[in-house]
């Protein structure tokens, strides 16, 4: 792979990242930055528990179909 190839790949990746960056909820990030690391872990645990409940519920629903 040449330097030009690598640069083209980087540019392509940057373009994709920029496209996704437009959808990032920066308000949420700013809120998180105000928290301590422990608070960030606690918040994540609550969200992860909820996500797991949803995932389990979806599996039960699929099983009943």
């Amino acid at each position: 792979m040449t330097n030009a190839d690598t640069s083209a790949d980087d540019n392509s990746l940057d373009a994709e990242i920029d496209a996704f960056k437009k959808d990032v909820d920066r308000t949420l990030l700013r809120e998180n930055l105000k928290l301590t690391v422990t608070q960030r872990f606690q918040k994540h645990r609550q969200v992860a528990r909820f996500a797991e409940k949803l995932r389990n519920a979806a599996q039960i629903t699929r099983g009943a179909e």
Binding site: I17, F41, H44
Partner: protein, 162 residues
């Protein structure tokens, strides 16, 4: 849900040399994406392999996704013979990484770490800039959204610190 703090405490109490990486490192920095496993890069010195093996042994680690009846012996020798292990334990899922794609080994990452404290557990966490660099270098399509969030996080953090 994986007991992230509990697993970190177990590693710390056993004096395992490790660096928090991956999704929970991103959470430590302030990311909002949900993750379900703990990723750590461990030092592959013989003494650390023994400490790591002994620390996790009571949690009955087995290879994630492998058949329940597949024999798996968790000890320092297994760690020495392998490199990266995706494990399920009684405390949840943990990825034990000897070499991280795009980032190298424990010693390579060490200069790019920061100390974080989670509920009284102090551990090394990969710095945000390096976390982004590692994810970029790994080149996985599934990471692009995460890289976008981490890059935005870095911008917000820098703006806040100005």
């Amino acid at each position: 849900v994986t007991d992230f703090e509990g697993l970190l405490r177990i590693l710390q109490d056993a004096k395992v040399e490790f660096i928090l990486v991956g999704g929970m490192a991103a959470i430590a920095h302030g990311a909002a994406r949900v993750t379900f496993d703990l990723d750590v890069v461990y030092h592959r010195s013989p003494s650390n392999l023994v400490r790591l093996a002994n620390a996790l042994k009571p949690l009955r680690p087995r290879l994630r996704g492998a058949p329940a009846d597949l024999p798996f012996l968790w000890d320092a020798e297994t760690l020495a013979k392998g490199l990266n292990f995706t494990l399920t334990t009684t405390r949840g899922d943990i990825d034990i990484i000897g070499e991280i794609s795009g980032g190298g080994h424990y010693q390579d990452l060490l200069p790019h770490t920061v100390h974080v404290e989670v509920q009284g557990v102090s551990c090394l966490c990969l710095g945000l800039e390096k976390l982004i660099q590692v994810k970029r270098a790994a080149g996985r399509r599934k990471d692009i959204e995460a890289i976008a969030e981490l890059t935005a996080l870095l911008e917000e953090r820098d703006a806040m610190n100005q």
